[in-house]
Symmetry: C2
Subunit: 324 residues, 2 copies
């Protein structure tokens, strides 16, 4: 591997000049050409470690997800990465596969490899542990908040999303609406349930607790809980499902029982654009603003990396209901 010294020798210039060139500084045209020639000739690449050692920057943003196999997070990360890339940053992703132990370990890893900032979808970690691990690395939470932890966060407004979805169903004269919701230790899943209760209150419609089914956000629970709803003595006339995988499970269950969606049982899915659009007729679904979440996360990261000292902001982005 050739170094900056080799380039200096080859061109007859000093280290400082080469370095200046590499970092976008101005050098004489004639020297610039010589440097560029030498770089290609010697196949020079700047040494990431040496540069990082001097500058204390890696130009890298670490992303930590509960799982790497989620279309939802995948889309958010893609949007974020695109934006960061424009500004010379790169993102690298880790996941903890829903393991609370690994959640902390991976966070430590990211800090250890000196990412300049962390974008994090938390699950179990508490405020104190997180603080002690990340020290002064900027953290932006995505999709979920952590109780009692003040920091930048970009989430979708789950409460209002469910609220509007339910309103749409109320307007169609449904009053028994099943809800398949996520684990209640996840902030946004809690909010979705709150939205469900609140809209009932506001419309003076009593909540039947049987209609609230709490799942694990996976396909199987969507399937199982849809069936559970239909097996009630008084099944709901409409069902609302609150994430991607559970939507697949619920639709499958409905199909299998020969229930026509939305004619026989009205239906609102979540996030699963592909499936909801592909079925006939297309089903309405709540679409969280994945791209916007990614872009906003990137914006906040860049702002922090730029030394921004504003107080932490909690960004609550609007979801939209595809159609009704």
């Amino acid at each position: 591997m050739s170094t900056i010294k080799d380039i200096a020798r080859e061109t007859g210039l000093s280290l400082a000049t080469i370095s200046k060139y590499l970092n976008g500084g101005h050098v004489l045209d004639q020297n610039r050409e010589r440097i560029e020639a030498a770089i290609t000739k010697l196949d020079y690449k700047v040494n990431y470690f040496a540069r990082g050692l001097k500058t204390n920057r890696s130009m890298t943003v670490g992303v930590l997800l509960p799982t790497i196999s989620s279309p939802f997070f995948g889309r958010v990360v893609a949007a974020m990465d695109g934006r960061l890339r424009q500004c010379g940053y790169h993102s690298i992703v880790c996941s903890y596969d829903f393991d609370p132990q690994l959640e902390q370990e991976q966070l430590r890893l990211l800090v250890n490899i000196n990412v300049d900032a962390i974008v994090f979808v938390p699950q179990q970690i508490d405020a104190a542990t997180l603080t002690s691990i990340v020290q002064n690395v900027p953290v932006v939470l995505v999709d979920r908040a952590i109780p009692d932890y003040r920091c930048d966060a970009v989430v979708a407004d789950s409460l209002n999303a469910i609220y509007s979805a339910m309103e749409a169903l109320f307007r169609k004269q449904h009053s028994r609406i099943g809800l398949i919701v996520g684990p209640q230790d996840i902030s946004t899943a809690r909010e979705r349930l709150i939205g469900y209760r609140r809209v009932h209150e506001d419309y003076h419609i009593p909540v039947d607790e049987e209609l609230i089914q709490v799942g694990n956000y996976d396909l199987e629970s969507g399937y199982r809980l849809f069936n559970a709803l239909m097996d009630l003595e008084q099944p709901p006339s409409a069902v609302c499902v609150t994430n991607y995988d559970m939507t697949v499970g619920a639709i499958t269950a409905a199909h299998e029982r020969g229930i026509a969606l939305p004619e026989q049982v009205d239906f609102i899915g979540f996030d699963n654009i592909d499936l909801c659009q592909v079925v006939t007729p297309p089903l309405p679904f709540v679409e969280q603003p994945m791209d916007e979440m990614g872009r906003e996360a990137a914006r906040i990261v860049l702002q922090r990396l730029d030394g921004g000292k504003e107080p932490p902001q909690l960004l609550r982005l609007k979801s939209k209901l595809s159609h009704v």
Copy 2:
């Protein structure tokens, strides 16, 4: 941030001794205690850049995927990461979102940040470009090979997987079997089609080209192509789908048409364990050895990182048919 020098000062020992301790060397018990005390007191962390600069190692393996939202790759990566972690390595993931431009860029990124090895699921890149980018960083291909590129690779034996699946259907007296296969620029998708043709040859059953439907590996194409098959003048009596998302699409399409799987149309899915197991009755599916692929990829990576100079190995792992 405190450095090794601060620890030296605090303990009265030399830099060399602290470094020795940090790297697992033997120091007097009494000194060990002093060092450990100082480390916690000063909250010392070794500087990743400085260490990397000296050692030329990052203890990090880069993973590059076509997309970050795939349950299949997610599982492979999880298995791999687990194994690498045991040996002190960590994996970081990037994706190129099916963009050939980004595929190269991300590869360069991984090389630039000095990952010790790269695990790569390629799509468009050609042998020459890849070689020129990765130089002497060990590369292990996963799930797919690259034409004319000799290097370590771990793939599932797609040809035989389809072969056995088809055999099972032949044995049940099906002779018109629809195939929904992936893009033919992906090596393993090609192999799946070859397997389909070969088993027909071997069983002396003519191939009706209409029954071969080429999709994009996404949900929509599974849905659309299943419908296309059913809309044929002579629809197949069985259908075989060859990846996760297309399996969802195909099952949905069948359900919608009121086709009972597998009674009315026999069916074999692919990879989608969740969905195929959840439907009633459970559907057979080809299960690629995701965990094994991950573990084997890790094993080869570790072997290379250990200086192994064996010729490149192409590992072809057996898939299994869940049941028939």
